[in-house]
């Protein structure tokens, strides 16, 4: 089956996909009444901590754009989506092994549904971001500009990157369970390799080009462009988009190649 046939199969099963996404969200919010709060509490708490540490302890208020707290919130909300989706797609096939074994659905569905569910959680956290923006705008420290239109472009790129990474990681984890531990460590390193708590233009120039390879760098550039005056690093956006598409291609190919082995294993 070619790539287009596989995408087509996924599209015809969109109702099932939607059922699974709803199930994910319902389980998440049925399990604890704090469900929604958790999705925003974590990034907000981390924003507060980094703000305290860097501004009041290290006295380095200039490592990101001003206002630094808003800079942190945008980055950490996106990071929350990213890390939750990576962690969950990694075990997407293992966790639903019973269903994978008993239903004949396009297998990509188990990965895609996690990314969509996490995207919806991210979308639900955006009103909180809007509140902060309004607050800062009233105060006069933030002026929105037309580049806000780049925000959804960043979201779309991250969505595609997560699907690619998930399609790569899910089957590998089903075959080599240690992958989950490796991913956990890699995620922690990735956090500091991403301009979340610092701005790209504060990075020494020889490191800056390396950071371009991280798709999140370009994605965060797009997402922050509408809120801050700093110029967009288009090099990072271009390279990041290329890496995203490459990840999607390699991920899908790996998934198709390993599908047969995974089905035997789980």
């Amino acid at each position: 089956m070619g790539l287009f046939a596989r995408v087509g199969a996924l599209v015809t099963k969109r109702q099932v996909l939607w059922t699974l996404v709803k199930r994910d969200l319902r389980v998440r919010y049925a399990r604890s009444w704090l469900g929604y709060l958790w999705t925003i509490l974590d990034p907000l708490a981390m924003s507060g901590i980094y703000f305290l540490v860097f501004v009041h302890i290290f006295r380095k208020g200039d490592i990101g754009h001003a206002p630094y707290f808003l800079f942190l919130v945008i980055g950490l909300l996106t990071w929350q989506w990213f890390s939750a989706a990576i962690t969950d797609t990694t075990r997407a096939l293992l966790q639903e092994a019973r269903l994978v074994r008993s239903t004949n659905l396009p297998r990509e569905i188990w990965v895609v549904r996690v990314v969509i569910a996490k995207a919806i959680e991210y979308a639900l956290s955006l009103p909180v971001l809007a509140l902060f923006v309004i607050g800062y705008a009233v105060q006069g420290s933030v002026a929105l500009n037309a580049r806000l239109l780049l925000f959804p472009v960043g979201v779309l790129l991250l969505f595609l990157f997560l699907i690619g990474a998930g399609l790569l990681l899910a089957p590998v984890t089903a075959l080599v369970t240690d992958t989950q531990r490796v991913v956990r460590i890699a995620l922690r390193m990735f956090f500091y390799g991403t301009p979340i708590i610092y701005a790209l233009d504060r990075v020494p120039s020889n490191f800056e080009t390396i950071l371009w390879l991280n798709p999140l760098t370009g994605i965060l550039e797009l997402q922050r462009a509408g809120f801050f005056d700093a110029p967009v690093a288009w090099g990072a956006v271009g390279v990041g988009a290329a890496v995203t598409l490459l990840t999607l291609a390699v991920g899908w190919r790996t998934f198709v190649r390993l599908e047969r082995a995974v089905l035997k294993e789980i």
């Binding site: 059922t19 319902r26 389980v27 994978v100 008993s102 239903t103 190649r257 035997k264």
Partner: protein, 248 residues
């Protein structure tokens, strides 16, 4: 009539041990099946046709490849060799409670599981009462309690009830022809009979001779992954029993 299930020289290879060597090269560039002494063929060279309305029983010792064949027909295993084609929809009674989530209520679970097997919410709505009635009064009384609070008997009863309410013309059954207590098992049998009377195609894996004789007309005998018998269920069971006697 055209066959609804066709397999052509079907084969699948498994690893003997759980540890498999996985190289990056294999992940990205593997073409076809690999051949090494660490693998064995769970099924090989199976060619068969099943026509609409047939009731086929799969017979054979453990490890003969019965469940493997069933799973390939269900599309949840991909063959390494040959082809399998199924032209109509399939209701797999393989992992009955596979789609159910402990935290959600039975009501939500019915919609979810039926939805996973391709039933639209409207269609579920339509047969919701029928599903619950079949699962029994205990299940009806507990519709809004979390599924994990159900006894295991109630859980499989609900699972059976949902899967057999699907409209699919082909039923694939792996040993779970009847579940629950004696009364419920009798109900399951009656439902199976009425489904067969409607003209559904049945593909049954079972070690229970009376089940096989009761429901199946045709038998297939799998021995060490090879199809060694295909005929009336009585003949195939006789051949199987003959083999067992010879081995003792």
């Amino acid at each position: 009539m055209a066959a609804v299930i066709t397999t052509e020289n079907l084969g699948i290879e498994f690893y003997r041990s759980r540890r498999r060597k996985l190289s990056l090269r294999e992940m990205l560039f593997r073409q076809g099946a690999t051949h090494s002494p660490e693998t064995f063929w769970a099924l090989r060279g199976v060619t068969l046709q099943v026509h609409p309305g047939e009731a086929v029983g799969l017979v054979g010792a453990n490890g003969g490849g019965k469940s493997t064949l069933l799973k390939m027909i269900a599309g949840v295993l991909i063959p390494d060799e040959g082809t399998v084609s199924v032209t109509r929809g399939v209701a797999p009674l393989i992992e009955l409670t596979g789609g159910f989530i402990g935290e959600l209520s039975a009501r939500e679970n019915i919609y979810l599981t039926a939805g996973l097997h391709g039933l639209s919410p409207d269609a579920v709505e339509e047969r919701f009462d029928e599903i619950v009635d079949f699962a029994g009064p205990q299940v009806r009384a507990a519709l809004d309690t979390p599924y994990r609070h159900f006894s295991s008997g109630m859980q499989v009863r609900l699972g059976f009830s949902v899967i057999t309410a699907l409209d699919e013309p082909i039923l694939l059954v792996d040993e779970v022809l009847a579940v629950g207590d004696k009364a419920f098992r009798e109900k399951c049998y009656r439902r199976m009979e009425s489904l067969l009377a409607e003209g559904r195609t049945l593909f049954l894996v079972s070690h229970n001779e009376s089940d096989l004789r009761r429901f199946c007309t045709r038998g297939l005998y799998l021995r060490s992954g090879e199809l060694v018998g295909d005929g009336s269920i009585a003949d195939v069971l006789a051949a199987y029993n003959e083999d067992i006697k010879g081995a003792l």
